[in-house]
């Protein structure tokens, strides 16, 4: 299949993703504004990061006035899943594919773009992925900027309703696998309970939200990996 055809198919599959990103990033923009970012800063953050959970975590680190090392660690944990996706993609790339394609494709490895790209047969087409990125990147960036702008314009009740879109996106990522896999279902329940527990216990409530997230993520995931190692890759 030629480049143009691959690219256009990517655009077609990327449009619904871009629309979803627009809605969700709007609520990220509202949070960014509350943390003190300008709409331009919020847009730059989204353009360069393309990560819902990662950006949300980054904003909690900023809100807590964390160190830059703390920020780096927070990103390493919240975006660790992209390492796994990138590994899976590397197995499906033509060994002769130029290096610059690898560098460009890596820029926008997200849950959704990884999902549509890896689902295609044969060697991964960089042009298909670029097609998917074409509506997705602006959707995510513009949504964040508008959220940061509108946060102060819209009525409080509308802002309140839009604020949960980001959590809706998180839920839509962890519930489908929890339905299929009891270990994940139990982990989600345990994560909810312990996250609540640490937020009320006097000893840990003083820690920032980002720090608590890192501690719980590493502890629960390591525990699950030790007790319930995955038999083989099911990506």
């Amino acid at each position: 299949m030629d480049r143009k055809k691959q690219y256009l198919q990517g655009v077609r599959d990327g449009v619904p993703i871009g629309l979803g990103y627009f809605a969700v990033s709007f609520s990220l923009g509202i949070i960014a504004k509350n943390v003190g970012l300008t709409p331009v800063q919020a847009a730059v953050m989204s353009l360069l990061n393309n990560a819902s959970a990662g950006e949300y975590m980054g904003l909690t680190v900023m809100a807590a006035n964390g160190t830059l090392w703390g920020m780096a660690l927070a990103m390493l944990i919240t975006n660790a899943r992209y390492l796994l996706m990138s590994c899976a993609m590397s197995q499906r790339m033509d060994p002769d594919m130029p290096f610059y394609h690898r560098l460009l494709m890596a820029f926008d490895i997200t849950d959704e773009l990884f999902g549509i790209t890896i689902a295609r047969p044969g060697y991964l087409s960089p042009w298909y992925m670029y097609g998917g990125m074409t509506p997705s990147i602006p959707g995510w960036m513009i949504g964040t900027a508008l959220g940061a702008l509108a946060g102060s314009v819209l009525p409080l009740r509308v802002v309140s309703a839009l604020s949960v879109a980001l959590y809706g996106m998180f839920i839509a990522i962890f519930i489908p696998p929890a339905r299929k896999d009891r270990v994940i279902a139990a982990l989600v329940a345990l994560a909810f309970a312990s996250s609540w527990g640490l937020s009320v216990l006097p000893a840990t409530a003083a820690l920032s939200e980002g720090t608590r997230t890192i501690i719980l993520t590493v502890a629960l995931s390591a525990g699950a990996a030790a007790l319930f190692p995955r038999k083989e890759e099911t990506e």
């Binding site: 990103m75 990138s86 949960v164 996106m169 997230t213 995931s221």
Partner: protein
């Protein structure tokens, strides 16, 4: 400028995580523990970030809790990302007409 320093660190680390496996380390990860750990991490981290934070995102904790229940139910029944997110927003909007 502090905010741009944060943003640059965020972008740099996120890009390295995504780019290193497809460029430098092209070999699959062998260790079952590390593979399992990386497999579980996204679900745990997203769940930890969702609760109890969703209760504080809205005007009233009650509507946040309702959004959580409806979002879980929608995703369980097969709604995609967009539909799940929208149903959470709609529940909060309707409930907060009455409470909070």
């Amino acid at each position: 400028m502090r905010i741009y320093a944060y943003i640059l660190v965020m972008a740099g680390v996120s890009y390295l995580i995504r780019a290193l496996p497809v460029t430098i380390f092209r070999k699959p990860i062998k260790s079952p523990f590390i593979r399992s750990f990386l497999y579980y991490v996204p679900y745990v981290t997203l769940a930890v970030m969702t609760f109890p934070a969703i209760l504080r995102a809205t005007q009233s904790p009650l509507s946040g809790a309702a959004a959580l229940v409806v979002g879980v139910a929608a995703a369980w029944l097969g709604a995609d990302l967009f539909k799940t997110a929208v149903s959470c927003c709609v529940v909060v909007f309707i409930l907060e007409l009455f409470v909070g």
